[in-house]
């Protein structure tokens, strides 16, 4: 790998790997003690503070917030999976004036800082709403914010795959007598599933961890405290170990979802190629 490689690994260790290790170690209250004379690993005593971890994660506030984040994220990922296919379809298959503009607009939620996304949504769906729709401190408001920030993931996962589909298969289905709906569900969708699924996974992971866009619209009341907001509140009270514990739980949840969607989508795809 050479000197450059060592530098890169060192940098990654400093800004990603060591911090994550420190987080999990604090979260699970892992402590390492040595006994005897040496530093070799057989002198180590590793102990887990599973009790501390569990009580932090199962505290009422923690449980409620994780639960809220889970179902919101599932809902958001599902809605955007459907809308992502619809939008990708319009962008790839339809021809109309301004299509290029719409295509760029899809990236806006990605380019926009999350806090700005929050302010933007409050400008119309907040208190003093110009259209009299006030979603401040409601789960609907949270959902809207999460739909906003995860939209690019859902669309961009599907779009290139849809664009590369073989149009002849659809023509073949038509000559065999299939109608529009049947062609879509039994010829097009089966080829899109892997990408829809991976878009779902990305959107879910993003939604579970999202903070900036919902930090204002949540308003800081219990009913709308998501997991990331709850964790932030813990840090504001300097409860770092509890925060690390809930963070670890949240990490595990996103990891499971990401790995599952990835494995399922890969397995499915391997049959097609």
């Amino acid at each position: 790998m050479g000197g450059g490689g060592v530098l890169i690994v060192g940098y990654l260790s400093i800004i990603v790997l060591l911090p994550i290790a420190a987080l999990i170690s604090h979260g699970l209250s892992i402590s390492v003690a040595t006994h005897g004379s040496g530093w070799a690993f057989w002198h180590w005593h590793v102990s887990f503070g599973f009790k501390t971890f569990w009580s932090a994660v199962t505290a009422v506030g923690s449980r409620n917030s994780i639960w809220l984040s889970l179902w919101l994220s599932l809902g958001v990922a599902a809605i955007n999976a459907v809308m992502g296919v619809a939008i990708a379809w319009v962008l790839v298959r339809d021809r109309f004036f301004g299509r290029g503009f719409i295509d760029s607009v899809i990236d806006l939620p990605f380019a926009l800082p999350t806090i700005v996304a929050g302010v933007v949504l409050l400008a119309i769906y907040g208190p003093n709403s110009p259209i009299h729709v006030d979603l401040f401190e409601t789960w609907m408001g949270l959902m809207l914010a999460l739909l906003f920030v995860t939209l690019p993931f859902s669309v961009r996962a599907v779009q290139p795959v849809l664009a590369s589909l073989d149009l002849e298969s659809e023509a073949a289905a038509r000559t065999l007598g299939a109608g529009g709906a049947r062609i879509f569900f039994s010829v097009v969708m089966p080829s899109l599933w892997p990408s829809v699924l991976s878009g779902f996974g990305l959107a879910f992971a993003r939604a579970v961890g999202e903070f900036g866009s919902i930090s204002l619209i949540a308003g800081g009341i219990g009913r709308t405290t998501t997991a990331s907001y709850y964790i932030y509140n813990l840090t504001a009270g300097f409860l770092w170990v509890d925060a690390a514990a809930v963070s670890t739980a949240l990490l595990v949840i996103s990891l499971v979802v990401l790995v599952t969607t990835n494995v399922v989508s890969r397995r499915y795809q391997s049959r097609l190629l």
Binding site: G4, V16, L23, M83, D107, L112, P130, R156, G180
Partner: protein
């Protein structure tokens, strides 16, 4: 596809995008200028706002070049060399965008602040990351890590190493090959990645909020200033005005990205 279903789909998609993106962005402009341009201007030029903007730019000035160098280096390593742990290296780059920025902030604190793993030795050298600009730089570097790599890697793989090998047979050295053969073929991708990195560094909120402690004039970046204006100081107009400034920067970024995508089709497969 029949005309009816085509139009139904168009209307559904446009309404969704309108409710989710179009209307909110429009009303941000309306609200920011709600008390006239003068009020907007005095909001964005007040001292705290300018301090926040200055800090944001300083942080970006450090984080962006570092991550650009690391991204280019790692992309070359992954695309052109075989080594044990290549897939692990590739995956590590995605960790910061796969997890919550809040969690990244906490992780940094638990590693490098006084209460963290390396807190004691670092404190002896006078280094602390909690509630300091250094912490903000670290957090920003972490969350904006993957963009350069993710922009370059597909292009590098597509271009292949034929040209580099040809240059080698013609007697070119490593530096000449990099600057005269490799870099020209990935320059748009590098620019694309750098643009994304800038956007992310200027906009990062969660990770920075955790490590910064939100000290006005010292550790307040522009996104945190926007948050603070709304949440703590009830200066809604200040919040809208700051948000509009960042939104305009983002729209500029989008324009650059779109132009780059037209030059290099492969860039369409971005962060997703």
């Amino acid at each position: 596809m029949t005309n009816t279903s085509k139009w139904t789909l168009r209307v559904v998609v446009m309404s969704y995008l309108g409710v989710l993106i179009g209307l909110p962005v429009t009303f941000l402009v309306v609200k920011a200028f709600g008390h006239g341009f003068g009020a907007f201007w005095s909001e964005v030029t007040q001292r705290d706002a300018l301090d926040a903007l200055k800090l944001s730019l300083e942080v970006a000035a450090i984080a962006v070049p570092v991550n650009a160098l690391v991204g280019v280096g790692a992309a070359l390593l992954i695309a052109r060399h075989d080594f044990v742990g290549k897939r692990v290296l590739d995956t590590v780059f995605d960790v910061p965008i796969a997890i919550s920025p809040i969690i990244i902030g906490i992780a940094l604190v638990l590693a490098y602040s006084r209460i963290g793993w390396f807190g004691a030795p670092l404190a002896r050298w006078g280094i602390n990351v909690l509630f300091t600009p250094l912490g903000i730089v670290l957090a920003t570097m972490s969350v904006s890590l993957p963009y350069v790599l993710r922009s370059i890697l597909p292009v590098l793989l597509e271009v292949g190493d034929d040209q580099e090998q040809a240059a080698r047979t013609l007697g070119a050295g490593r530096f000449r090959i990099f600057f005269q053969v490799t870099l020209p073929s990935i320059r748009w991708a590098v620019l694309y990645g750098v643009t994304l990195t800038i956007a992310r560094t200027l906009g990062e909120f969660g990770a920075v909020l955790v490590v910064s402690g939100n000290i006005t004039g010292v550790t307040q970046t522009l996104p945190i200033y926007i948050f603070d204006s709304w949440d703590q100081r009830f200066d809604v107009l200040g919040s809208y005005s700051g948000a509009l400034v960042l939104a305009l920067i983002s729209i500029g970024v989008l324009g650059i990205l779109a132009a780059l995508k037209r030059r290099e089709k492969k860039l369409l497969v971005d962060f997703a």
